[in-house]
Structure formats: C-alpha cells, structure tokens
Symmetry: C2
Subunit: 361 residues, 2 copies
Amino acid sequence: MKGRIHNFNAGPAVLPLPVLEEIQAELLNFKGSGMSITEVSHRSKWFDEVIQDATTRVRRLLKLDDSFRVLFLQGGASLQFCMIPMNLLPDGQSADYVNTGSWATKAIKEAGIQGKAINVVASSEDKNFSYIPKDISFSRDTAYVHITSNNTIKGTQWASFPDTGGVPLISDMSSDIMSRPFDPSLFGLIYAGAQKNLGPAGVTLVIIREDMLERVPRGLPTMLKYTTYVDHNSMFNTPPCFAVYTIQLVLKWLEETIGGLEKMEEVNREKAGLLYKAIDESGFYKGTAEKESRSMMNVTFRLPSEDLEKQFVQQAIEHGLGGLKGHRSVGGCRASIYNATSLEAVKALVDFMDEFVHENG
Amino acid sequence: MKGRIHNFNAGPAVLPLPVLEEIQAELLNFKGSGMSITEVSHRSKWFDEVIQDATTRVRRLLKLDDSFRVLFLQGGASLQFCMIPMNLLPDGQSADYVNTGSWATKAIKEAGIQGKAINVVASSEDKNFSYIPKDISFSRDTAYVHITSNNTIKGTQWASFPDTGGVPLISDMSSDIMSRPFDPSLFGLIYAGAQKNLGPAGVTLVIIREDMLERVPRGLPTMLKYTTYVDHNSMFNTPPCFAVYTIQLVLKWLEETIGGLEKMEEVNREKAGLLYKAIDESGFYKGTAEKESRSMMNVTFRLPSEDLEKQFVQQAIEHGLGGLKGHRSVGGCRASIYNATSLEAVKALVDFMDEFVHENG
C-alpha cells in the first residue's frame, strides 16, 4: 500500500495489512453497535463475541485439547517472569531454567528475586548465546522446565522441544507463537506478549494446562493469580479490549487467509531460507547464530564494520526497509520476519542486501 | 455522526469523535512513518513523541509540579489495589481506607490479602454506599489515606477532598480523573484506569509523588515496583502503545478543543445538572445517591419498578441511547456522562426521559 514501508521491527512489529484495514473500516462503528470497539462494554455481546472467537481460534490453531485454558493478561512477558514462579513453584521445590539469552536471563532473575530455588541446567552464555543447548540433563523432581522458544535478540530458536520426561515445559513464546505447529501436550504453560506475532503491545496470551492450576497458592494478590483469569474468563476486571480484538483479527487472517500453522511455517521457512542464503553466499554478511540454532523469526547478522552497519541501516530506510538495526544491547543488524512480514518484503530486503554488497563489498 | 449512538457506558466508555477520527485517518501510516502506531517500535522517535506529549499534557492539565512522576502501567486499577500496599505500606505501619463502595471494598481486600494492617476509618456501607462520609477522624501515624474519588457503581463522588493533616492521600480516580481541577499537593499517589475518562482499556495512569518512592521495598518483583516505571520512563518493557497514544489524543482534545479542566468542569456540571433536574422534577425517577454526594460522572437512578427499568433501557436503545443499564451488582439505571459525553447527548437523554414519563408515569 502506498506510503507503507517493509517493516522488520522486532516488536512492536508489522501487522497484516488486511487486519489494519478492517480495524480502520469499523473504528467508528463496530458491527453496527454505533460505537467503536474501544467504546463498547467488555460485558457486551459485541466484545463477548470477540474474546470467544479469539479463544476458539487459539485452541484450533494450536490444536489444544480441553485440558488447556486460554487467557489474556496484561503486563507483558515480563510480568509472567514473576507470576510463573509465584504461582507454579511451590516452596520447598525447585525449577529448571535454560538460559538462552536476555529474556531467559530476566526470567531467571525474577524467580530469584522471590527467593525461589532455581537450577540453571544449561546455558549458552559461554558463546554469547549464539546457540541452543543440546542433551540437557534436567534435575530430578524439578517442578517445571522453563525455556525461551525463540530468542529475539540473539536470533536463535529451539528447532524442537526438549524431552523433559513428562515434567511440564513452560515456554516464553513471545517471538514465535503461531509461527509453526508444535505438540502442546509437552507444555504446562505457554506465554507470549502479543506485539511480535499476535497483535499490538498491551496483551499477553497465556495458555495453561488445568493441572498446573492446582499449584496456585492461596493468598496471592487477586490480579497475580492465574486462577482469577481462569475463573472469570480473563474478565475479572476490564481486559485490554482493543488488543484482544486485534489478536482476534490476526488469528482470523492466519486461519482464513494463510490457511493455518502448517502453511504459515512453510512461508516462514521460505522467508528465512532466502535471507540466510543471502547472508551465507555473500562472503560479506555474517550470521551471528550457529546454523542449526538459527531463528526463523529474527535473522541476526553483522557487516564487516560498524560503520558499514550504520550505513546499511540508513540506506535500507531510504529503500523503504525499516527496523533493521540490531537490539541496542548487541548492535549489528537484525531482520525480524514474523508471520505478517510478507515474502515480498523479504525479497525486497534480499535485493537490497545484494545491491549493498555490490556497492560496498 | 451517522450510525453512532449516544453512549452512556460506564467503561469502556465513549471517546471524543475527533479522537477516533484522527486514529482512523492515520491508522495505516502514522505521521509518515510508513507504519501503524501499533507497528512502530516503542523505542522509536514516533512513540517517544507520543508518550512525552501525553506526559507533558497530564502535568499541565493537572498542574503537577516537579515532585510528581507520571507513569503508564498495565493491569487496571485492580492491579493498583495490590501494588499500593505492597510498595507504600511498610511492615509495622498501618494505612487508613475509606469504604465508599465496590471498588474501595476491593482495594481494602487486596491490602488485607497481603497481611497489611488496614483501618477502615469510615464507611457508607450502612446506607448502601449512597453517600460520602464526612468529618472523618484519621488514625494517628497512618502511612496513607486511601479513597475512591468517584464511585462508578453507586453514583457518588467526593465533592472536595478530606483534610488528612498532611498525610499523603491516595485516590483511585478511575472514573473522574480530568473531569475537574483539584489541588494535587494533597496526594501521594493518584491512579486511574483509562477506560472511563482517558482512553481505551489497557492502560492505567499512575501519578506518584517523589517522596513516596522512598518507601518502595527492595526485593519486590521488577514489574510490581513503582521505581521500575520511574527509572525507565514507563518503558522497562513494551508499554501498551496504542492505549497511550489514544490517551495522548484525548488529552490534546481536552486542552485544545475543550480548553482545560476548568472548562471541562463547567460542561460536566451543566450535563449533570440537567440530568439530576430531570430526575428530581419528574416525580417518577428517583436518584439513588444522597444529593450532596451525587456524582457528576455517573448518574444512578431507579424507576418505579424493575419492569419499567427494563422497558426504559430497551426503549432508550431504540432511541439511539445506549449503556443505561445499572451495574449488574446493583440493578437500576445509570447514565455515565464522562468528559467525552456531549451536552447534546445528555439533552437527548433528558428528552427521552421526559417522553418516557409522559407515556408511563
């Protein structure tokens, strides 16, 4: 669409254009209500249909059975870092964490702040978090195993999930939820801040298996207990209605336009394949993640010098390619290619990368 | 605007039409960024200008001096109910609470859940919360005094704030913030869920006086400490960008179209005056709040029978007047007339009320 750029932001990130167009079209009058979606009551039939549909689509896309509850919370993944041990790690027990980067480190820190017993059973810190650890030995009797399925900043991703021998896996999936199918039966809890693959910032999808709820201690503040959200269908108090509504439209697009997660994964593999090929064959760009740990969502790479990196990011913007600067904590370049990033956008980026090598290589 | 109703919802509630129109116009391309406001990075110049402008306008509208910090949190006022005692009520001290209805009751409950020492120094529960207590004796050495400035469900409002003898006042102002000027120097903390007078659901405005921050205990989870939001300009993690953006536009409308809080109060007084007059002179409708405690924001009233109330709400909808049903916990009728409710909307409601009496009185 005229005036729009190809947006490779890491989050908040690009949304499907048809979703934005639908929001725009009905912004002043939602489904004949005479009100905006931002103005209808969260207890109205209008919003009820939105949240029910969003929930149903999450269940269908991820093939969740009846043992899972689908919740919408606020506070981002960062609030989950403290809610998870608070709710699911009973005193006297310990939990295993795998440290694969900045966000995993924060999750570990928040458990520690609460004085919870944590075992960091594997870490890739020795090589600047450039890989996903393999052949991990989990602790006997661990209450859960926490991982970060995709590492937005370091550009690594679990290609498959570890065998925990039946211990509930908990995963921060903020940056790769809905990007590929997976077996949900491994998981006790999945959480994802929406602003990468699901919708706008301001809502966090939490999927929790029923049996985990038995661990929630009495006496927690109401808003910090998973059971509150389960018991009130995520509406103990007013939910972030606009963000939930946008998620609903994104999931509808994923089901009805893309055709589900198998199809989405195909497209995502093609997009990532094109970019990594352009990097590997260039003799100029250098991927920062080890090849078998590479992320399909965040492609991180360096150029021969920081000056060239600056120039690359700046010239990319002039070519209508935005958001390619690496995270402020690591530098370099990063192309985030979430579900809503089109193949066309990736091809435009590859063309630009080739051109840039030609001129500067 | 064609197709739009007059919206008397209690929250989420009506937004100024020019605000919605501006959101709609720039939804696909925010300020020439080539991205939606939902797609720009929260660390970009685009969002930085939004949150800075929103903050500046809050400071200017409320005449806050440099001792106050303006923060944007998630989780609603309900999360503040637990964060306030967690952060600001040190062990070994106690705090005074005034109970004026459902939300105050919840605030008291959340302090109790944490085992904090609370004194309910005044309550209007004896008369179904139909009035605001007067001549309250506050406890010696109370850490703070907590009130609810406007009671959305019961339709009462503090006409002026109590003299606490210098003890910091803390107020839930979710349903009347920005509806009238007040002296901020009385307050240690003010909080307001946005979805009534400020913007969409999904963001909570918190205004905290610097000296209160000294009370924040070490060892709280990062996302539950006010200091985290102060230290990171509300961006320790991704804030609810769209909701903050909408607040910015609402505040701009308040300053530039309405002309500030003095003007806003005049309009609000006129609106409430018209409605209460229609009730009092009808001999048919009966206001539920005591006259001197009546809210300028939520006008609660009963009809001679529940059948007539149902009929009233239904016929109102047919006349393009929505959201008049009382809260599910109390029944009856309620017209919420926040800042964005126009005088025209109130006049249309008064006309309908007169007509309804004529036909059913």
